[in-house]
């Protein structure tokens, strides 16, 4: 739509959530996206806060947030928007046959693609390690013949470390009938299990396993929703748990389908292959955003603009000259760590956040962009997700949590339902 109430730029989790929240309030929403959006690479767990500023493990994310510095995005978003945003996310996913399980007050372990454990606040049902799953004596990694990116032996070595030495470990090979063409991907297997034949085939190879077995598999149980996982679970005596995986990430893709279906039903106009490049501004208001089509430029007018372009990682913030980061659409002020020595931290996964990763757009508590003096630069523009200054999602494990909560807040502010 050339004229809408809300224009969202970017189709990562933050942009999708902002479009959803706005459309649910009855707004006319247009979503511009350059590239399909990032959920296909997202591991699909909702991390809220895994580590604090000193890289100490956080067990209770909600408490952990209280101890963050004042300029951290969570401090601006606030508890209420975080809780309401999460609730809204859970409602959406549930409607699309995705069950997320977890709590804001306790992180839980999930198994990664290589068999280590990582912790998160909300995990998709197939990834959840229930109490009962943890008591199983036999741990089996399932190796699918011809599948790239999932190595049974590496998995077992790491699982031994994760689950302790006193269990019985092994690898079970299974065949899918997908061999003969290209290297098999996890998504191929997930699509195969979408079919009745794939389903039956899979079961026939594993139904003999006993109750005391925990099967660890890549996320292969269907490409949409969690129904395939639930149906197969009922037929099996053994317990099954999915791991995260390398891209294309099926758990992220399942989320993407859920959002796409929902946004379509709500009448959100998604404009693909549309790169926002500039804007038209009058005083402290943005009037329109200018985006490249295949051969021209188009203007998109709206009352409210939500900038979800993903910061440094996704082109929302560019740096053509060192120490001169720019936000290319509205030319908003950028806050960043100065000095080359502060910029990076030699230890890639060390105990200090990466300076550059905290680069972002400074906002007030309503998520409107502000200048150094704290004055609002544009009062109908809102900043969400990884565009926000002051956090390193990778270091503190907060990416999807901040994306959901900030998007919810930006789309709700001043809409009667103040968050």
């Amino acid at each position: 739509m050339i004229r809408s109430d809300v224009l969202v730029i970017g189709a990562g989790l933050a942009g999708l959530m902002a479009a959803y929240t706005s459309a649910k309030q009855g707004k006319k929403v247009t979503l511009l996206t350059w590239g399909e959006g990032t959920l296909t690479v997202n591991s699909g767990t909702i991390d809220i806060l895994g580590f604090d500023e000193n890289h100490k493990r956080v067990n209770n994310p909600l408490q952990g947030i209280d101890n963050l510095p004042a300029d951290h995005p969570y401090k601006k978003i606030g508890r209420q928007a975080l809780q309401e945003g999460l609730a809204s996310f859970l409602e959406l996913t549930k409607q699309h046959e995705l069950t997320y399980i977890g709590s804001m007050e306790a992180n839980q372990p999930v198994v990664t693609a290589i068999g280590t454990k990582k912790r998160t606040a909300y995990a998709p049902l197939p990834m959840v390690l229930s109490e009962q799953a943890l008591t199983k004596k036999k741990i089996r990694a399932v190796a699918i013949k011809g599948l790239k990116d999932f190595y049974g032996d590496v998995m077992i070595e790491n699982l031994k470390k994760s689950f302790g030495p006193d269990k019985d470990y092994g690898v079970i090979p299974i065949d899918t009938g997908l061999m003969g063409g290209r290297d098999i991907t996890i998504q191929d297997v997930a699509r195969y299990l979408d079919t009745p034949q794939g389903n039956a085939d899979f079961l026939s190879q594993l139904e003999d396993l006993d109750q005391d077995t925990l099967l660890v598999l890549p996320p292969i149980f269907g490409s949409h929703g969690h129904t395939v996982y639930q149906t197969i679970s009922q037929e099996m005596k053994a317990t099954m748990v999915e791991t995260t995986c390398l891209p294309p990430s099926v758990p992220g893709i399942r989320l993407r389908y859920a959002f796409r279906d929902e946004l379509r039903q709500l009448g959100v106009d998604i404009v693909e292959s549309s790169k926002a490049v500039a804007s038209e501004i009058e005083g402290t208001k943005a009037v329109s955003v200018i985006a490249n089509s295949a051969s021209n430029q188009r203007r998109y007018y709206a009352d409210r603009f939500i900038l979800a372009t993903g910061g440094f990682y996704s082109g929302g913030i560019e740096m053509r000259d060192f120490e001169k980061p720019i936000e290319p659409i509205f030319h908003l002020p950028i806050s960043f760590v100065k000095g080359e020595d502060q910029w990076t931290n030699e230890e890639l996964f060390g105990s200090k956040a990466q300076g550059y990763a905290k680069t972002g757009i400074e906002t007030n508590d309503l998520l409107q962009p502000v200048n150094k003096e704290g004055q609002v630069v544009l009062d109908n523009v809102y900043i969400v997700g990884r565009n926000l200054a002051g956090f390193d999602f990778c270091f503190e494990h907060s990416g999807n949590g901040i994306a959901i909560a900030s998007a919810y807040k930006a789309a709700s502010v001043g809409m009667g339902k103040e968050a």
Binding site: M1, I2, E36, L178, R182, Q187, P248, D269, E272, N296
Partner: protein, 408 residues
């Protein structure tokens, strides 16, 4: 005379921007349909750049349908599908085409021949039916299970001569394209009616030729060059005159506005492309300026809209769905079920029929489940595929506007 685009805009170099994120792989509909295809990332940016030699061809390259889903998925602007087309072009410079390629790549000369003969269209349509029932199409390497598009007895260009239009200062040039001229002239007539009603005079330029897309996707890159140069000349001429060129076919318009530039990398192609609009893109722009006439009769009907892939790639959203909101009683639901699978002449090739139908399955299911009164879609080959896969009528959205305006 012809100036190259700057290096970083050339398709060949967009491959360097690939970060191997696999977004294209997770969205490619042909990968979803068959394990035989290696997939966009491997075929285009990875293999494609290594193997621009003549003897070598990626073994599964021919499976790429040019639906361009990969391009749209890519966050880094890699022109994946065009890298594939370029590889194919290089390969066929020194390798023989199957015989039927000659036929499926040159709809224009064939149609000219047929519609130029007295009774030619009727005879040809009958001939196609007979040939099909005798299994001849299949022998020629065409998908025998399909109905071939029927020819009209009177082309759009000859009909245009007898359409009386009001004179106006506001003018557009209608890029007619083969499908409308030779197969579905009623779409062209509807378009003229709609534009006239909105105060525009519609010009046609007989110097335009087939957009060349059928040649391009069949690997005849050198042969297509003639069409490209002719059309680019005309587009630039009209640009100079200040008159936009508008098309009712989203694959023609995508070729004119973007594919030429991507394939041949010359500056004037980009310039020419900026003067091309889709019919509904143009109407939506009028609407945004408050200049679209909205004096519609009411029609109680429920449509499902299939957005063609090449329209998605144009980066202009769903203008037809937006404009049709003005017609009272008309409900438009988006299919949003991916590629239809036909992809120009891809699905007409015998050996691609199954993949083509497999790709379309999701769209067919969606349509059959929703049971709309009719399907609307701006692309002629998508419409053929939808009718073939669902036995539901599929029409161009301009027909809906044309039949609902209140003319004096």
């Amino acid at each position: 005379m012809s100036e190259r685009l700057p290096e970083d805009e050339l398709t060949y170099y967009t491959g360097d921007a690939c970060i191997s994120c696999t977004s294209c792989m997770s969205n490619c509909p042909v990968m979803e349909a068959t394990q035989d295809y290696d997939g966009p990332k491997l075929v285009a940016p990875a293999h494609g750049r290594m193997h621009f030699s003549e003897e070598d061809i990626e073994r599964s390259l021919e499976l790429c349908s040019n639906c361009k889903t990969c391009d749209r998925s890519c966050p880094n602007g890699v022109s994946v599908s065009t890298l594939n087309l370029l590889q194919k072009g290089v390969y066929y410079r020194t390798h023989k085409h199957p015989m039927r390629d000659l036929m499926i790549s040159r709809p224009e000369p064939l149609a000219k021949l047929i519609t130029g003969l007295p009774m030619g269209a009727s005879l040809a349509n009958m001939g196609i039916k007979v040939a099909n029932s005798l299994g001849m199409l299949s022998m020629m390497g065409l998908a025998g299970k399909r109905t071939m598009p029927a020819y009209t007895n009177k082309t759009f260009l000859s009909r245009m001569k007898s359409i009386k239009q009001p004179k106006s200062d506001k003018k557009i040039v209608f890029y007619v394209g083969c499908s409308i001229n030779y197969n579905t002239p009623e779409i062209g007539e509807a378009f003229v009616k709609v534009m006239n009603h909105n105060g525009y005079e519609v010009l046609v330029d007989p110097a335009f030729v087939c957009c060349g897309s059928p040649l391009i996707v069949t690997g005849y890159l050198d042969a297509a060059r003639k069409n490209v140069d002719t059309n680019v000349d005309r587009l630039l001429y009209w640009k100079q005159e200040g008159i936009p060129v508008v098309s009712c076919c989203t694959s023609c318009s995508y070729a004119l506005r973007k594919e030429y530039e991507e394939l041949y990398g010359e500056k004037q192609m980009k310039e020419a492309g900026s003067n091309v609009y889709d019919a509904f893109e143009f109407l939506e722009m009028l609407d945004a300026k408050g200049q679209l006439k909205t004096d519609f009769k009411e029609e109680s009907i429920r449509f499902m809209y299939h957005q063609p892939c090449h329209l998605k790639s144009a980066g202009i959203g769903t203008p037809a769905a937006q404009v049709l909101k003005h017609v009272p009683g008309v409900a438009v639901e988006l299919a949003d079920a991916g590629c239809c699978g036909i992809c120009g002449n891809y699905g007409y090739r015998k050996e691609r029929y199954d993949v083509s139908m497999k790709v379309g399955e999701q769209l067919f299911k969606r349509i059959l489940l929703s049971q709309p009164d009719s399907v609307i879609c701006d692309c002629p080959t998508c419409r053929q595929q939808i009718e073939h896969g669902t036995h539901k009528e599929a029409i161009h959205p301009i027909m809906v506007l044309a039949r609902n305006y209140k003319y004096e």
